[in-house]
Amino acid sequence: MGMAIDVTTPGGFVLALLPELVLTCWMLVLLVAVAWRHRDEGDQQMAGQLALMGLVSTLLVVLWMWVKGAYPETLTGMIALDGFRYATSAIFLIGAILVVMLSLGYLGRERILVPEYYVLVMLAAIGMLFMASGADLIVIFLGLELMSMAIYVLAGIDRRSAFSAEAAVKYFLLGAFASGFFLYGIALLYGATGTTNLTQMHYQIVTLGLETNLMLLAGIGMLLIGFGFKVAAVPFHMWVPDVYDGAPTPITAYMAAAVKAAAFTALIRVLLHALGASDAVWMEIILWLSVITMIVGNLIALAQTHLKRMLAYSSIGHAGYILAALASGSERGAAAFLFYILAYTLMTLGSFAILAAVGTRGERDVRIDDLSGLASRRPWMALAMTVFMLSLLGFPGTAGFIGKWLVLSAVVSADQIVLAVLLVIASMVSAGYYLPVVMAMYMKSAPSEDAHSGSGLIGAARWVVGIAAVLLLLLGVWPNRVLDMAADGAEGLRPAPTRILTD
């Protein structure tokens, strides 16, 4: 068996929070370093490399805890020690590492000199780790706020750009608005069950028979509105295109991949672990959210001519697919979610890396037609972009296909055939905006001689694209090992309904 951790002792508590503590220490070191040296691009590179070291060492700590199989001795701690936490933490950290690598060249090219940028990326990652490890609504709320506040600043980090400032204002106001609903939901759940601990909440609901208690239902509703904003589900999505469009591209990638994954992680833990007894209620809501999110996200994406906005709307569509996995209300759905967000993180970061590379004159203005003839000038970049687009589409042979197939099988095993059919139709519609990108690159000729002369992947961004593309293909043809890890990660997420509270 694994390593038992007694969280009531100080040593055990430190061990339980080791990834968060390690990352926080690195963040503080980096904060001191950039307060001391922040004058030129060289200092900024140093900050980026320090951040990279911190994130990689935290990833190693998370993997070590997962391999050791650390589990808690008592049932009702505030910190979760389970495979779901380790799996999601690892995915967030991979996302953050790729974002830092992407930023190393990007910030220099755009002449954005703010070494605090990397401190904020790490702060957001710490918030995400707390969202993954929170077994109490207080911890989840604090993690969510820590992450969101760092991202509000990052969205507006380019102070010379009015677009960036506007994205920050919109994201901040709607994000804080959503936090209000989220918090009210917590208050109502606390009022109905008398606890904010997720495990205790589950047993209170079962033993007191609160499954359809009015206050509990109102709390679930408020919580879902709050999460709906954070994961960008329709009808709470209206901020997404503007914010994704205006923010610096590496930050857009961070928001679309890791931030969204963190919100989903907390949502899944709260719904499956604490509110599993009331699943008849929330499964219905999630089902409808999923349906309209898939339909609206995909249909509006069809109408986009600019690559960045198209990717923003496509990320809304993907939130719909992930919600479909959640609508199955099972651990199988949670396992599908784990695999899906790993693939989704890789393909999103990869496609935004390409966007940043071709958008030397401002990535906001890159139209899909501007990619014409990329294949003849930059064959490797075009090939990688093709992999990302096919994976986003869910083409067989890529990780996106395996992810969608897992979601589909979870949905079908929950007997939600209509949702499964809609998911397939939505995927087919999405071909209508992913394939034109591939067609533009391979079948149209470049508009002028020097069309793609300026575009190119700078430094570490080359590695981001390479790693993402290779991993997506690898996971597409040989997913078994990662599938086992995903199943392991989702195990035990739903507490057994009959078990009696032991303490």
Partner: protein
């Protein structure tokens, strides 16, 4: 009506006023004040419930106040940043990115 019931009712009314303020007002500062109103309405709920359910709710309120303070710092800084670009904080005029 008992004290808990009326406290929860008042809290729900203040929360709704906050939501209405966010949806109806166009000045970024006033929208932000409305959001603070929502958070404080929730605090009232927590305090009222903690009277019966134990100190967990009161602890939560302390955290919420700290978060709200941090949010004010970040939020006002962001609003100043947009003011420098646009010379206004009217949300209807902040529309470079058309949704």
């Amino acid at each position: 009506m008992d004290l808990l019931g009326s406290a929860l009712a008042v809290s729900a009314i203040i929360f709704s006023l906050g939501v209405a303020g966010v949806l109806l007002r166009r000045n970024a500062i006033i929208v932000f004040m409305s959001i603070e109103l929502m958070l404080n309405a929730v605090n009232l709920s927590f305090i009222a419930l903690a009277q019966q359910l134990g100190p967990e709710g009161q602890v939560f309120v302390l955290f919420v106040m700290a978060v709200a303070a941090a949010e004010a710092v970040v939020g006002l800084a962001i609003i100043i940043a947009i003011y420098r670009h646009k010379q206004t904080v009217n949300l209807d005029k902040i529309n470079l990115l058309s949704g």
